[in-house]
Amino acid sequence: MLKKDLMMRNPLRAVSDANGYILPEGGLGAVVARAGVGKTALLVQLSLNSLLKGDNALHISLGDPVRKVSLWYREVFNNIGTHYKIDKIDDLWNELLPQRFIMTFNIDGFSVPRLDERLTELADQDIFHPQMILIDGLPFNEQLKRTDLHALKDLSEKFNSHIWFTVRSHRHEEPDAEGLPIQISEYADLLDVAIKLEPEDNEIRLNVLKGSGSISTQDLSLDPATMLIKE
C-alpha cells in the first residue's frame, strides 16, 4: 500500500511509459551535469523509482566505495520519507534492500567484458537479475570508444535491462552544433534519452536534451535542499 502510494505520487511517473519505464528495453540514457550539481542524486532517484516498482537495480560506481553509495541511497530515501511523511520508513527500506545491488570498481579496473562476466555469474547462481543498471562515473572522454557503448547496449539487451550513465561536463565548454554537451555529442545516436541538470535561480532544472514522448514535454526540477525531483 505504502509502496503503491509512493509510486502514485512520484513525479517521474509523468515522464514514464504505461509500464513505468523512461527508457526502452536495451536502451541507454545519460544524466549530464557539472560536478556537484546532482547527477548521483538523480541517478539514485531513478533507481529508487525502479525499486519501488519491484524491479531490481544494479548500481555500479567507478570510484566511490560501497559504503558511500549506500549512504547516498539512505540519504535520498530518508528525504523522500520526510517529504511524503512516511511512518515506517525502515520497514520499507528493509523491503527494498534485497532488490538493490551495489558494485564498485576502480576506474582502471572497469571493462565491459568484466562487467558481463560478473553479471553472468550473478545470474547463473540466481543471486541477482537486474532490470535496471546505473553506471556512475564512467569517463566520457577520448578513451571511451563507440564500441564500448555498443557492447553496453548489447549487455543491457542480454539482461533485459536498460542502462543510465552519469556524464560530467565542464563549465567552460561550449555545446556542439546540435546544442549537446561535447562529452556526449559523439555518442548521441546511441543514447535514447539525455538529460542535463542546470542550476537556475533557486532550483536545478532538468533539461531534456534528447528523448521522445512525454519526457521531452515535462517540466521537472530538483530541489537543491533535498535533491529531490519536484514537479
Binding site: 560501497v66 525502515d90 534492500l97 545491488f101 551495489i102 564498485t104 579496473g109 560478473r118 547462481q125 543471486i127
Partner: protein, 696 residues
C-alpha cells in the same frame, strides 16, 4: 612517574589482526630497554612475544587482552596499550581507546586497509583519538606502501600524508628516507638498534624533494608561519614542519604515515620519535566526567595533580597475587594509603600495592599521577568503575555496551570443574561487560552469552587453560526476540473468590509497538479508577510478562503499554491482584497484537580474491543473506552483506574450504529483523521436538 605532563604519552597500537602490531610492540620494548631479547609472536622459540601474556594468545598468534606496559623514549614516559585486532573482541578495543590519548594505526603494506581496519578506525573516530599510521611489513613480497596511503585516503577518509619514503621494498627493503630531515636512515646491528644516517640515495633524491614539498604544503595548512615561509621559499626547519603537523594531528585533520618492517627491525625508532613528537600529551585531551550529584552534568577534568582524584578502572586481570586492576588517573594523584570511593557501588576503597606494568612483569611504585596508567592490587571492582575522591561523586562517561546476540549452555565434567568454572565465569563477566552468564532455571544449565561464536569459544578455552575447568558445550543459540506489530486493546478483570480473602483487579488500556526502546509504561488513569498504590504493581505485572513471549517463549521487546481505566475493590484488591490482572491483560492482548519473531542480523564483510567472488556470493545467498555490494580493488574484492546470525555458524570453515583458504571475513551485530514465516515455522517445529524430548 614524576615527569611533567607534556612528556607523557598514553598510546595504543590498533590494527587488523596479523598486521604485526604485537611484533611492533615487542620491538618498541626492546629498543626502550624493557626487554633484552626479541621473540616471535607465534612462539617458535617457546617464549612468545611479551605483550601476548595469555597462553591462548601465544598459541593463536593473536592478542586478546590489552596489556598495558610502560617504557621511556627520548625522555618521554610512554604507556602502551596493546589492543586486540579481532572484531569479536571489540569491547576490549573500545575500552582501551577510552583511556588512550593517541594511537598508532598499524597497516599491512601488502593487505592494506582491510575491513577490520575500517572497524578499528571507526572506533577511533568515536573516541576522537588522534593517530599516526605505520605501514608495516614492507619487507614482504607485494609490499606497496603508496597504495596503503591512497587507501587510507579513499577507504577511511583520512587526510593521509607520507612522512617517509621506502629505500627498497620487499626483500630489498633497507631503510627509509625521512622527508622532514631529508636524511636516509638505515638500521644496523643484529636487531636494528644502530641507526646510520646518510645522504639520500641519488635515485630517490628527486622523488624525496617532490614528496617533501607535498608534505610542507599539507603542514602549512596548520601553521601560518610555515605557510609564509613556504610561499617565500625560505629555509624550513624540521621543527617547523613537525610543530605544524602536530597541530593537524591533534585536530584529527591529518594522518602522518610512517613505514618500515617491525619484523626486520626497520623504521621502529623513527615511529617512536613521531609518537613523542606528534601525539598529544594527557593535558591536551579533554576528558569528561559526569557529576552524579548534579543529574549527571558533564564536568571537564583538569589533568592537574593538585585537584581531587578521579580514576577509571579499565581492565581487570587475574594475576598470581589476586585481581590486578589497570587504571588511568585523569585528575589528581592516586597514592598508596589513599582512601577513595568507587562511585558505582559507593564502597570505600583503600589503595594498597601500586604497580607499573610491563606486560606480565611489574614494578612497585608509590603513586600514580594524573595522566598516567598503572595497576593496583587487592581492589574488588568491575571493569569500567570510577574511583574518586570522597569529595566528588563523579563517574567517567559510561561506555556503550551492546546486548549479547548468542548464547551457549555449559555442563562441567566433574565437581572440581564446576567450582573452577564458576570462578572463571565470575572473573570473565567482571572483565568483559559483553560477556554474561546466568543459570537457566528450567534446565539448570549454566548459560554464557556474548557477541559471536569466536567470542564464546575463546572464553571456553580460557576456562580450560587458566582455570582447569573441563566443560561440555551445547549448541550455540541465537538470541531471538518477540515483538508485536499492531495495537491491541485490553480490558481484563482478575477475580478470585475461592475461600480466604478474595482477589480483584481490573485493568484496561492497550499495547502497541514501540520502536525507540524495549519497554514503556504509560499511566493515564484518571479519577482513581485504579488506586495510585497499585499502579506500580500493574507496571511490574506487565514487565514480568516480557520475560517470555506467548509465541515461542522468547523475551518480548519493543512494547508500549498504556493503561487508562480499571477498577478496584475496597477489600479484595491487592498488589498481587493487580500484578495478576496485568499479566492476564498482557496475555490476552498479546495474541491479538500480531506477535512476530525477530532475529539478530550481522553485518558481514568478506575479503576474497576476485576469482572467488561468485562463489562467496553464492555462500551468502544460501544463508538468507542480503548482499549490499561488491567492491573490486585490483586482485581483491570486498563483499558487504547482511546475514542472519543463525545462518553463520561454522561459516569460517565453509569460507575457507570454498576459497582455498584465501578469503577472510569479519562479522558484527547490525540490527534485529523479523524472521520469515517459513523459518518461524521451522523454529516452532524444533521447539516442539525439544519439548517432546524433554517430556520423554
Amino acid at each position: 612517574m614524576s615527569k611533567e605532563l607534556s612528556k607523557v604519552r598514553n598510546i595504543g597500537i590498533s590494527a587488523h589482526i596479523d598486521s604485526g602490531k604485537t611484533t611492533l610492540t615487542e620491538r618498541i620494548l626492546f629498543y626502550t630497554n624493557k626487554i633484552h631479547a626479541i621473540h616471535d609472536v607465534k612462539g617458535k622459540d617457546g617464549v612468545g612475544a611479551v605483550m601476548d601474556s595469555m597462553e591462548l594468545e601465544k598459541e593463536r598468534g593473536i592478542t586478546i587482552a590489552s596489556a598495558a606496559t610502560f617504557c621511556e623514549w627520548n625522555d618521554h614516559a610512554i604507556n602502551i596499550i596493546d589492543t586486540p585486532g579481532h572484531v569479536d573482541f571489540t569491547i576490549e578495543v573500545e575500552r582501551s581507546l577510552r583511556v588512550l590519548d593517541g594511537a598508532i594505526l598499524v597497516l599491512c603494506s601488502v593487505g592494506g586497509v582491510q575491513s577490520q581496519s575500517i572497524t578499528v578506525d571507526q572506533q577511533m573516530k568515536r573516541y576522537k583519538v588522534p593517530c599516526i599510521a605505520f605501514v608495516n611489513k614492507c619487507d614482504r613480497s607485494g609490499a606497496n606502501p603508496e597504495r596503503v596511503v591512497s587507501q587510507l585516503k579513499e577507504k577511511l577518509g583520512h587526510n593521509a600524508i607520507a612522512m617517509q619514503l621506502p629505500i627498497g621494498l620487499e626483500a630489498a627493503h633497507e631503510g627509509v628516507v625521512d622527508l622532514v630531515t631529508m636524511e636516509a636512515l638505515y638500521f644496523d646491528g643484529e636487531n636494528g638498534e644502530i641507526i646510520r644516517r646518510e645522504e639520500i640515495p641519488a635515485e630517490l633524491q628527486e622523488k624525496a624533494e617532490e614528496r617533501r614539498e607535498e608534505l610542507i604544503e599539507m603542514a602549512s595548512n596548520y601553521c601560518d608561519d610555515l605557510a609564509e615561509a613556504f610561499l617565500e621559499e625560505q629555509e624550513i626547519s624540521p621543527d617547523m614542519i613537525l610543530q605544524a603537523m602536530r597541530k593537524g594531528v591533534l585536530k584529527r585533520e591529518v594522518t602522518p604515515v610512517y613505514i618500515g618492517s617491525a619484523y626486520k627491525n626497520k623504521g621502529v625508532q623513527p615511529l617512536m620519535d613521531a609518537a613523542t613528537q606528534l601525539l598529544p600529551d594527557p593535558s591536551e585531551v579533554t576528558n569528561i566526567a559526569l557529576d552524579l550529584d548534579r543529574d549527571e552534568a558533564e564536568v571537564v577534568l583538569s589533568s592537574s595533580s593538585e585537584d581531587p582524584t578521579v580514576a577509571l578502572a579499565f581492565k581487570l586481570e587475574d594475576g598470581q597475587y589476586g585481581q590486578l586492576t589497570y587504571i588511568r588517573v585523569y585528575q589528581g594523584v592516586l597514592a598508596k594509603g589513599d582512601t577513595l570511593i568507587n562511585t558505582r557501588s559507593g564502597k570505600k576503597i583503600k589503595i594498597g600495592r601500586l604497580v607499573q606494568m610491563h606486560s606480565n612483569q611489574m614494578e612497585d611504585i608509590n603513586e600514580i599521577s594524573a595522566g598516567y596508567i598503572g595497576a593496583l592490587f587487592g581492589i574488588d571492582c568491575a571493569s569500567g568503575d570510577t574511583f574518586a575522591d570522597p569529595k566528588l561523586n563523579y563517574s567517567m562517561t559510561s561506555m556503550f555496551v551492546p546486548n549479547p546476540v548468542i548464547s551457549l549452555a555449559l555442563v562441567p565434567k566433574d565437581n572440581k570443574s564446576q567450582i573452577n568454572m564458576s570462578k572463571a565465569l565470575n572473573r570473565f563477566s567482571k572483565e568483559d561487560p559483553t560477556f554474561r552468564t546466568y543459570v537457566d532455571e528450567e534446565t539448570n544449565e549454566t548459560i554464557i552469552e556474548g557477541m559471536g561464536e569466536l567470542h564464546l569459544e575463546v572464553y571456553v578455552e580460557r576456562m580450560q587453560r587458566e582455570y582447569n575447568a573441563e566443560v561440555n558445550t551445547g549448541q550455540p543459540r541465537v538470541a531471538y526476540r518477540e515483538t508485536i506489530t499492531k495495537r491491541a486493546d485490553f480490558n481484563y478483570t482478575h477475580k478470585k473468590q475461592t475461600g480466604g480473602s478474595g482477589q480483584y483487579g481490573r485493568v484496561a488500556g492497550y499495547i502497541e509497538p514501540f520502536a525507540d526502546g524495549e519497554f514503556e509504561f504509560i499511566n493515564k488513569i484518571t479519577g482513581g479508577a485504579i488506586p495510585t498504590q497499585f499502579i506500580s504493581s500493574c507496571e511490574k505485572g506487565f514487565k514480568a510478562s516480557l520475560a517470555k513471549g506467548a509465541l515461542m517463549e522468547f523475551p518480548v521487546t519493543g512494547i508500549r503499554v498504556e493503561i487508562n481505566d480499571g477498577a478496584s475493590h475496597a477489600v479484595d484488591s491487592s498488589e498481587m491482584a493487580f500484578q495478576a490482572a496485568a499479566r492476564g491483560a498482557f496475555i490476552d492482548a498479546y495474541k491479538r497484537a500480531k506477535p512476530v519473531i525477530h532475529e539478530p542480523i550481522m553485518k558481514v564483510v568478506i575479503e576474497t580474491p576476485t576469482e572467488f567472488q561468485g562463489t562467496v556470493m553464492g555462500t551468502i545467498n544460501q544463508r538468507r543473506g542480503t548482499i549490499l555490494g561488491a567492491q573490486e580493488e585490483g586482485p581483491m574484492c570486498v563483499v558487504e552483506c547482511q546475514v542472519p546470525l543463525a545462518e553463520m555458524f561454522g561459516y569460517s570453515t565453509v569460507l575457507r574450504s570454498s576459497t582455498q583458504g584465501k578469503a577472510q571475513f569479519t562479522m558484527e551485530f547490525a540490527n534485529y529483523k523479523q524472521v520469515p514465516q517459513s523459518i518461524t515455522e521451522e523454529l516452532q517445529k524444533k521447539r516442539d521436538e525439544e519439548a517432546k524430548k524433554g517430556a520423554a
